[in-house]
């Protein structure tokens, strides 16, 4: 009943290596490395929808990677963002001595459309390595909230994808049993989205100063 201590096998499972293998092994697969700026340096791979299931199966059955264990599946909400930037433009301005070219600062607003995202953390129970992180992004947060389901590849995604459907409203095509899991059936909202507004309460909620946009947070931002 005992076991020898395990040594991780020296297979390169960095996002870059996985991407190279995927592009070679799954024809037509588009995989992009998403950089992660934190000290953890866990970079991830963004997959396209058409080849996601195929790529996942490839990674699971690959003799060297053997990513047979899909540990964590989660949704992330990225709402529409308005980015304001200051740009210098050259414009013709009416001056005292006639029209003249001048550099003017202008604020330009660009709308970055939002999307929903699912993140899969893969490990290998056989080779004891990981994590390899896969990402899938929806077209938008409205009608285009469809993603391919990876439950046929890893059973462990079953409840977690249901949770992402319930709380984020991501529809997984190919999921065997896509129902709400935590909230009740008649519930219509997706409460983990950033723009969810909870129902009105008859008693106010205390403000501990940590909520985004609260008065204390703005004060602390200046420190």
């Amino acid at each position: 009943m005992s076991s020898p201590s395990i040594d991780p096998v020296g297979v390169d499972v960095s996002a870059e290596a996985i991407r190279a293998a995927l592009v070679k092994g799954v024809p037509g697969c588009e995989a992009t490395v998403v950089e992660n700026g934190s000290p953890s340096a866990q970079h991830s791979l963004l997959l396209d929808h058409e080849h996601a299931v195929e790529a996942a199966t490839f990674l699971r059955d690959h003799a060297e990677f053997r990513l047979d264990f899909c540990s964590n599946v989660t949704g992330v909400d990225w709402p529409d963002k308005e980015v304001t930037e200051k740009v210098k433009v050259t414009k013709v301005v009416d001056g005292p001595d006639g029209p003249k070219e001048q550099q003017v600062e202008e604020t330009r607003k660009t709308l970055i459309p939002g999307y929903l995202e699912t993140v899969y953390h893969l490990f290998s129970m056989e080779k004891k390595h990981g994590p390899v992180i896969l990402r899938l992004r929806t077209a938008n947060r409205g009608e285009g909230n469809h993603l391919p389901s990876l439950t046929p590849v890893w059973r462990s995604a079953e409840f977690q994808e249901r949770e992402a459907f319930d709380l984020f409203g991501i529809v997984f095509d190919g999921h065997p049993d896509l129902r709400r899991i935590l909230m009740w059936e008649d519930f219509t909202d997706h409460p983990m989205r950033k723009d969810y507004v909870p129902p009105e309460e008859d008693e106010p909620v205390m403000d501990d100063g940590c909520a985004p946009g609260s008065s204390a947070e703005q004060g602390a931002a200046g420190q």
Partner: protein, 215 residues
């Protein structure tokens, strides 16, 4: 005024008689004595506080000393519901239904911050901010979780409450009044929230809240 004097005299008489080996009692006293020492709680754990409730029933804290170790799995056989833990909106209708299924006389202890007010999870979209929005509560115990001693204290408080209940007259116990309901309406699942969000009968709207919303 006169009845109070008489009651004191009766008490003195009882003490005097007991010194001579004669014991007297009233029906009310015997009835309440029997009830308060055999309160059977419902086996009903909701969250973390339930673990402390179990700890209370174990050897170290030994709730059996108070005659309440007989945890009943069925509400039909229980006298006391210890709401031990967070009541979520998804669970609230079931809690009310369980309460309705208990036979009278029945009592409720709200154990822990969550059962009283939502506690640490008060800001959650699926958390009910206190079970007293739907059913009447006899004893509240604060704490997160309350220690087993606190639960025992709540229990003794409940026993005192039972002991003081009258069988007749205007001040008789709740379950003896024909006009007070013994069942309360079960809330429905709405599309955003429970409907209704509270029961006005047990949770009347407060005219002015002591809290202020920060700007």
């Amino acid at each position: 005024m006169g009845s109070e004097v008489m009651e004191q005299e009766l008490k003195d008489l009882k003490v005097e008689l007991s010194k001579h080996g004669i014991f007297t009692t009233t029906l009310e006293e015997v009835y309440n004595w029997g009830r308060k020492n055999s309160v059977w709680p419902l086996t009903f754990g909701l969250a973390c506080c339930a673990i402390e409730m179990i700890a209370t029933s174990m050897a170290r804290y030994d709730i059996a000393r108070f005659g309440a170790e007989v945890f009943r799995p069925s509400p039909r056989q229980a006298d006391l519901m210890i709401v031990a833990g967070t009541v979520t909106k998804k669970m609230a209708p079931q809690v009310v239904r369980l309460y309705n299924q208990m036979p009278e006389p029945k009592y409720v202890i709200a154990m822990g911050a969550c059962a009283i007010s939502g506690g640490p999870f008060r800001d959650g979209y699926n958390v009910l901010k206190g079970i007293d929005r739907y059913i009447p509560v006899d004893v509240h115990i604060p704490g997160c979780p309350p220690r087993p001693e606190a639960l025992l204290h709540a229990f003794i408080t409940l026993q005192k409450k039972i002991d003081a209940q009258q069988l007749r007259g205007a001040g008789r116990a709740r379950h003896l009044k024909a006009e007070t309901p013994s069942e309360y309406p079960v809330p429905d699942f709405g599309s955003h929230d429970l409907e209704p969000t509270h029961n006005d009968e047990v949770f009347p709207p407060r005219p002015e809240s002591p809290f202020k919303v920060l700007p």
